[in-house]
């Protein structure tokens, strides 16, 4: 109903912009209804959160490598800010759990999704389909504001007594409700805002893609990126609400003393909890959580696929291989992602029938992923490959996602999970997908669309330094984790699993060897290395906005899709005249054509 109140005001808003009267800073950059500004707002905010999430992780990695030693450089600051839990600059176990839960939450909900989906989606999708804006510009603005508020709440929760949520990003009940601090309450409230935000955003995306395609832009002429966003938006619209329901119930458990997720006979803090009515089920939370969270992981990767497809098509100078197969694959990934969720729950006492169902769907869903990757790989054949910075990141994405995806296969088999559940193998599995995978896709996207948004290029040399440094250190961080996980080292270990190491008794069979424990230190060093190689990027990013080389035309990459046919940077309302589409999205190197690219809106 929010739409009803807002959407149609757009008309008035436009009229106001038409006369190009001087706009105040506030209405232009803060309370803007222009999809491009909103995209940039999302992008910049989410990059900050990405950096913040990374910093949390660096402190955790320090603690894992050097348990009980004060965090260097920021130790005193931590103590000042957080007090007791960071006494003497040393991270206490509670604080470690705070950082862990918030690293996961921030990375997933405040950094990667807002970047890959919201930022690129808002900026690029309307341009790509030849629309003047999104369907509901006001709703769009509200979506960003909800995201921002959600972020503020999450950040604020660090500073309350006892700190932020400590139950992991999965927030399993009863643990999440039993920790006696308010962090979890803040987490839930923050999540409600974030859920609202993605709901508003994705309703808008879907409506825009269905309604505002330019004349001639048929479904099978949509750039693959738009398809990826379309499916992602559906995942968000339909999978998030059950988590919202679960969040409301957990909030009731936390605040009003109900027992949705708490069974009878529970002990709280070592005492029988007879103030609770009981009768709830801890497994219910897990089901509702994973019903969202599995589709959510595809939300993390599908926009990545989309970006990569654009960059690869552009830099091989040839059409994507198997466009239809790609489209049908993402559609089936989206569809199937709703019915595989319990593969995160194999060890919750699952019988043969259920586990058979979920193992089977999990194996089936890997097939469209294989198809997507295969199409991308084969697209390279016969191309004329330009190795510019976006392309380097896009190319690196392929094997990195490959490693992450392939290691999902063993995890999909319940019998294997007897050995690997909740170990660093799982951590490595999904980080290969989201870190050198999605983050690389995001970098590729930033380098690729930067000239459209700013009219300036980013520096290629710095970009290459950034690329090679990131690629090497990412692998140095995550590759050893497979070995650690296989050896039985578990995640969420405050002391880096020192408790379970051989050092505590030479005669213990299967204790973690010194070699495995030592990897902790190497990984941490690599993580700091990764940080150092982000500096060229951050500098490049800000410096190029003002000082970068100016682009000479609207289409510096000589691309075919519509966003490159708009003025640079596109004004409010996007296109000088409404585009008309005559052909598919990747008409590169068409035999007989004058140039090696034929824009979608070029009349035949």
């Amino acid at each position: 109903m929010a739409q009803t109140a807002h959407d149609t005001h757009a008309h008035a808003a436009h009229a106001e912009h038409h006369d190009h009267g001087p706009q105040s800073f506030w209405s232009k950059y803060v309370f803007s209804t222009d999809h491009k500004i909103i995209g940039i707002q999302y992008g910049v905010t989410a990059l900050m959160f990405l950096l913040f999430g990374f910093c949390l992780m660096l402190m955790m990695r320090w603690q894992i490598a050097y348990p009980g030693k004060a965090v260097p450089v920021v130790g005193t600051l931590l103590e000042k800010l957080l007090g007791e839990p960071a006494k003497g600059g040393v991270i206490a176990p509670d604080l470690y759990n705070v950082f862990g839960a918030m690293h996961g939450t921030i990375m997933v909900f405040l950094a990667i999704v807002p970047l890959a989906f919201a930022a690129f989606g808002h900026y690029v999708v309307p341009l790509m389909i030849g629309a003047p804006d999104m369907c509901f510009p006001r709703v769009n603005m509200a979506s960003y504001q909800c995201y921002f508020l959600g972020g503020v709440i999450m950040l604020a929760s660090f500073l309350i007594p006892g700190g932020a949520a400590q139950g992991g990003w999965t927030s399993y009940s009863p643990l999440a409700t039993q920790i006696p601090t308010d962090g979890q309450t803040y987490w839930i409230l923050g999540m409600v805002f974030l859920i609202t935000s993605s709901l508003l955003g994705s309703v808008n995306f879907i409506a825009t893609i269905i309604q505002l395609r330019a004349p001639g832009m048929t479904w099978m002429r949509l750039p693959f990126f738009v398809w990826a966003m379309f499916v992602t938006a559906f995942l968000l619209v339909l999978a998030f609400p059950p988590l919202e329901a679960a969040a409301v119930m957990q909030l009731m458990d936390k605040v009003f003393g109900t027992s949705f997720f708490l069974p009878e006979g529970l002990f709280v803090g070592g005492q029988p909890a007879d103030h609770l009515s009981g009768g709830g089920s801890p497994l219910l939370w897990q089901h509702l959580f994973w019903f969202l969270a599995h589709p959510e992981v595809y939300v993390l990767i599908l926009p990545g696929f989309g970006i990569i497809a654009e960059v690869i098509a552009n830099n091989t100078r040839k059409p994507l291989y198997g466009y239809r197969a790609l489209v049908y694959s993402v559609l089936s990934i989206g569809f199937l992602s709703f019915i595989v969720w319990a593969h995160h729950m194999y060890l919750t006492g699952m019988g043969t029938k259920i586990s058979t169902f979920f193992q089977t769907t999990t194996m089936i869903i890997s097939i469209p992923s294989v198809i997507v990757l295969t199409c991308m790989f084969i697209s390279l054949w016969g191309g004329s490959i330009r190795f510019n910075v976006p392309m380097l990141f896009a190319l690196a994405f392929l094997p990195m996602f490959g490693i992450g995806g392939l290691t999902g296969l063993p995890l999909g088999l319940s019998y294997v999970v007897l050995q690997l559940h909740d170990t660093y193998y799982v951590i490595a599995h999904f980080h290969y997908i989201v870190a050198p995978g999605t983050i690389f896709a995001i970098f590729a996207g930033i380098y690729y669309w930067f000239p459209k948004a700013t009219g300036r290029m980013m520096n290629a040399t710095l970009g290459k330094i950034h690329f090679w440094g990131s690629l090497i250190f990412m692998n140095l961080i995550f590759q050893p984790m497979f070995a650690q996980g296989m050896a039985g080292m578990h995640r969420r270990m405050y002391d880096g699993a020192a408790t379970y190491s051989l050092a505590n008794g030479q005669d213990v069979i299967g204790a973690l060897s010194p070699g495995i424990i030592k990897m902790n230190i190497n990984i941490t060093h690599a993580a700091f290395g990764l940080l150092i190689f982000q500096i060229p990027f951050i500098w490049n990013f800000f410096h190029s906005i003002v000082k970068g080389k100016k682009v000479t035309g609207d289409n510096p990459w000589e691309a075919t899709t519509l966003e490159w046919q708009a003025p640079t940077p596109p004004p409010h309302g996007n296109f000088a005249e409404a585009p008309h589409v005559y052909r598919g999205p990747y008409e590169y190197s068409v035999p007989g054509a004058a140039k090696d690219y034929t824009p979608q809106n070029q009349a035949p």
Partner: protein, 269 residues
Amino acid sequence: MIQKIKDLMSFPPLTSLHGEKVDDLILYVHYLMGALFLVWIVYFVYVLFRFRSGANPKASYTGYTGHVSTYMEVGVAVIEGILLVGLAIPLWRNAADEFPQERDAKGALIVDKEGKPAVTVVRVTAQQFNWNFRYPGKDGFFGKQDLKFVSNDNKFGIDPADPNAKDDVTPPLGEMAVPVNKPVIIRLTSMDVIHNYAVHPMRIMQDAIPGVSIATHFTPLKEGKYQITCAQLCGNSHYFMKGALNVLSQDKYDAWLAEKSKGAATTLE
């Protein structure tokens, strides 16, 4: 050879009967993954080299037109199907449904040649941040358990009226022992939050969830000391929640149990 591969992949030592099959399945899947990865990466490097813009300034509009990729995709699907139907599902049935028999049809304990129970049954109740173990005692019966009896003096909710409870054995917190070469059934639950009982050399891992009791089983093959890892985040001392699993010869196990059962009845109430 296989052992070499396992060492290379840092598998932990293997000391249980079914563990071999877990390892095999892990290895088979990794062979598939390795093969795929290798094929693709070789192709990838070759393509990047051959079709770099310097060497191939004019791209081909049609690109690749053969069918190898389709065969590969079908191949992957078939192999996954075989692994799933041939191994993963039957094995999981074995783990989740096919428990070793503890009693015969008449309800009498099945015993071995020496008259000792053929199957060891242990009840495990996890708590923040330790492990409680219970053994059924001489009669082989646990006392009835019901959450409605739970109170501060009766943390497991044992029915005080049940005579079977009297000889149950409760060793000290965090200490568990089982005889070697005999199937063990553990029944897991938790008092407060979700924990996870993991012993890697035995290749077992199972959530302990309050309100439900989940059973799992394994057969230890090697005497020695093992450690029980808590594999599910359960609070600020999760990392420290370690238990001891001692696999003993039958004689030593009997002695251990006898020693722990002294005064067993009093540890209850």
